[in-house]
Subunit: 445 residues, 2 copies
């Protein structure tokens, strides 16, 4: 800890867990080849401490039904932190992470995947939020000021050592220590490049797509993403509209949201190649490491991107080591929190693969910006080929929402991991008893 207060003095005394849902399916925001009617939701946890003003926040992002299962999982695991001092966790953060993900009985339910792993991620992120608030720093800065040794101590290297050892990780971090300060300064001045997905949802009309593309260009976006995967004919028509609107020099990314089998992905991307896609995202199942590798080989030079549904560091290790992805899309709420994302960022550095975080949803933009900024400062040293996804929904519910200028994320300046939602939003959208849901459920009853 280089400033702020020492975590010794803080004890976690309790938690609240809430089921929060937004009825986004009304407007077909977030509609894609796999998810036609998402109600963006989250299982939201607040850690309470022996200081009334000091809390930590974390969430599991889901798209509606099943959010209650994530709440149940949080209820099952969150007592593990009650009564502990913050320093008893942060002094050996990898051990804490292993305690949650490696508990022999709970591990059976994964291992390290699915609902229980996502709940562990939310709890771990809430501890980081608390830690950064106590340190009075935004998370990206807290991480960027930890020493290489401290960072390596946060990482669980189980199942990674054939690709990356703690020693190698230390050397990678040490090699990038010079220049950290300058990059922090540059980041504060320039922000971090982003791309927008707001124009490309499947449920939007052609006219709406056209209007949104024009708005995006006016706002300064140079990279836009569209959803594909339900109908190749429709995809071509929509790609043509977007390409026409953004011109040949801006970048168009495509996202199939796992809609295709392997051979289908290869065939379809050979057709969609006409529209010069910068990458194809989630062309098939996120579990199919070899399938992604086959697709990547077949459609070069179109890049393959994946990660938002990759369950843990072991999948990322394989995708990267075999050349199955050209773009690594970390997600703040899928894996076991900041710590497992540190492992994934280290792997990406080792295999020289640019990190372009997945965002959107509920609070994902708010969170992943911190990880991308840390990656720039302490690992990659560059923003070339790096982009954070941006979707312009639901930010108004957060106390420290992202700030975008000319297609760039501005560096957060407030302490924490930017996960905290406004009390009035929590109250309004709580499921099923908040006023928004009470009304809706009464109407359909």
């Amino acid at each position: 800890m280089t400033s702020g207060q020492h975590p010794d003095g803080v004890r976690i005394t309790g938690h609240t867990i809430r089921d929060i849902r937004f009825p986004t399916s009304d407007e077909l925001h977030g509609s894609d080849a796999m998810n036609n009617d998402p109600d963006y939701s989250c299982a939201y946890i607040t850690l309470l401490t022996d200081r009334p003003e000091l809390t930590g926040h974390g969430l599991v992002f889901t798209i509606g039904r099943g959010n209650e299962i994530c709440c149940a999982a949080l209820e099952s695991i969150a007592d593990a932190v009650i009564g502990r001092t913050l320093s008893s966790i942060t002094d050996d953060f990898a051990a804490f992470s292993r305690e949650l993900t490696g508990d022999a009985q709970m591990r059976w339910l994964g291992p390290e995947k699915g609902v229980v792993h996502m709940a562990a991620g939310a709890l771990i992120n809430a501890v980081w939020d608390l830690y950064a608030r106590l340190a009075r720093k935004p998370l990206w800065l807290l991480l960027s000021e930890l020493s290489p040794e401290e960072l390596v101590r946060c990482v669980d290297f189980n199942y990674l050592t054939d690709a990356l050892t703690p020693d190698e990780a230390l050397k990678l971090l040490e090699s990038m220590t010079p220049g950290r300060k300058e990059r922090i300064e540059q980041l504060r001045n320039n922000g971090f490049p982003g791309y927008t997905t707001s124009a490309g949802w499947l449920g939007y009309s052609d006219e709406r797509i056209r209007t949104l593309c024009r708005e995006a260009v006016t706002q300064g976006w140079t990279h836009l993403k569209m959803k594909v995967g339900v109908s190749l004919e429709d995809d071509c028509r929509r790609a043509a509209i977007i390409r026409e609107e953004i011109g040949p020099d801006r970048f168009l990314m495509m996202d199939a949201n796992q809609a295709w089998d392997v051979d289908e992905a290869i065939d379809n991307m050979r057709v969609l190649a006409d529209f010069d896609p910068h990458w194809i995202e989630e062309p098939t199942s996120p579990d199919d490491v070899l399938g992604h590798a086959a697709i990547a080989r077949a459609i070069k030079p179109i890049r393959v991107a994946s990660g938002e549904h990759c369950q843990n560091r072991i999948i990322f290790k394989q995708l990267m080591s075999i050349g199955a992805i050209d773009v690594c899309q970390i997600d703040s709420c899928r894996v076991a929190g900041v710590n497992e994302n540190l492992a994934i960022l280290l792997l990406a550095r080792k295999f020289d693969i640019p990190v372009c975080p997945h965002a959107g949803g509920v609070g994902l933009c708010e969170q992943v910006q911190h990880l991308a900024m840390f990656d720039y400062i302490a690992l990659s040293g560059t923003t070339d080929g790096r982009l954070i996804e941006y979707v312009d929904h639901l930010h108004e519910h957060f106390t420290d929402p992202v700030r975008i200028r000319q297609g760039h994320y501005l560096a957060p300046s407030r302490p924490g991991y930017s996960i905290e939602m406004k009390p009035e939003s929590l109250a309004t959208y709580e499921f099923p008893d908040g006023p928004v849901w009470k009304q809706r459920l009464a109407r359909t009853a």
Copy 2:
């Protein structure tokens, strides 16, 4: 349906879901390198129908904590079957399976992995149990009398077609149709070979291991499995004892329960090779397809076995297509039920890999025997190199427990999937309100 009654006439009217736990950690039954104190448990579902005497049973096997999350997941998904006729499911079983595993909102929580996928498996298995009871056949026989077309219609080929198409699957099944009747007869006469894990738990003393080995040999077992992975020195000592007791001609399998990193697995198996292991099971993370492939290449001719923690057919597809496993260990409660296991059996046939199901736990032996027997009759046509795991715990709680003779599973003859637990066992071991738990919790309170 070749006999029994048509599922048209039956409607599912409700369900009960119960949290059942056995305090097995008292005796260190089931202790291995990863699971040192399992309380074998299950989330148990009973489907009720409009015929009072006709029910269907399914379960998610867990090892204790977290069982309540599986119950919550079952509560969230099981209403999908209420009000439906059985035939509306069985007429297009793959569609029903996709409805459960592909529901856009629930799918986010996996996809197709972890708690939600396991719950889907339990629900699907309960429908099969019901179906087989109505047909008045044990499940293995019901499956073995379905036509190749009917079997292919049960399978979700999503993400499989680069390795196996529905046409190929049909041809594989058709090629094995001749001889089905003879194999059914042979199975009824001879049973299906098994192996025992009862002697090899990590928590047992050397003397207990020795005694159990002698008992196993006396009972006619020719294949025994031991747990390894906590200490190489201990593993060597215990392997020496077992080898001494069983002699050079019986088979000794080893199971590391994911304890090792890739290079560690290779190094350790080069040492343990002295004891002539028949296979090494779960040498590393079940997610590490490439890691298993590296281990398999390095330790030939020792076989690599995996599957009990493999989340779905997509992982099996990769493990088999790349030669990462020599033995395919299906599990009845990890994937999406009988239907996804049919996909995995078809893949195993395609890649010519013997299927040796994982069992033990709560009711796993009872269930997987049906799948192995179907595999023999309709797909592999042989029992050479095939074995069903056997562990002699908790069978007394089932209404149709496995029957073992001279190291062989006898073919079940009662209708259903053999999942049903006795009402008195359910009442006694329900958590936390059954008498066994009430007493224990009162004692520790």
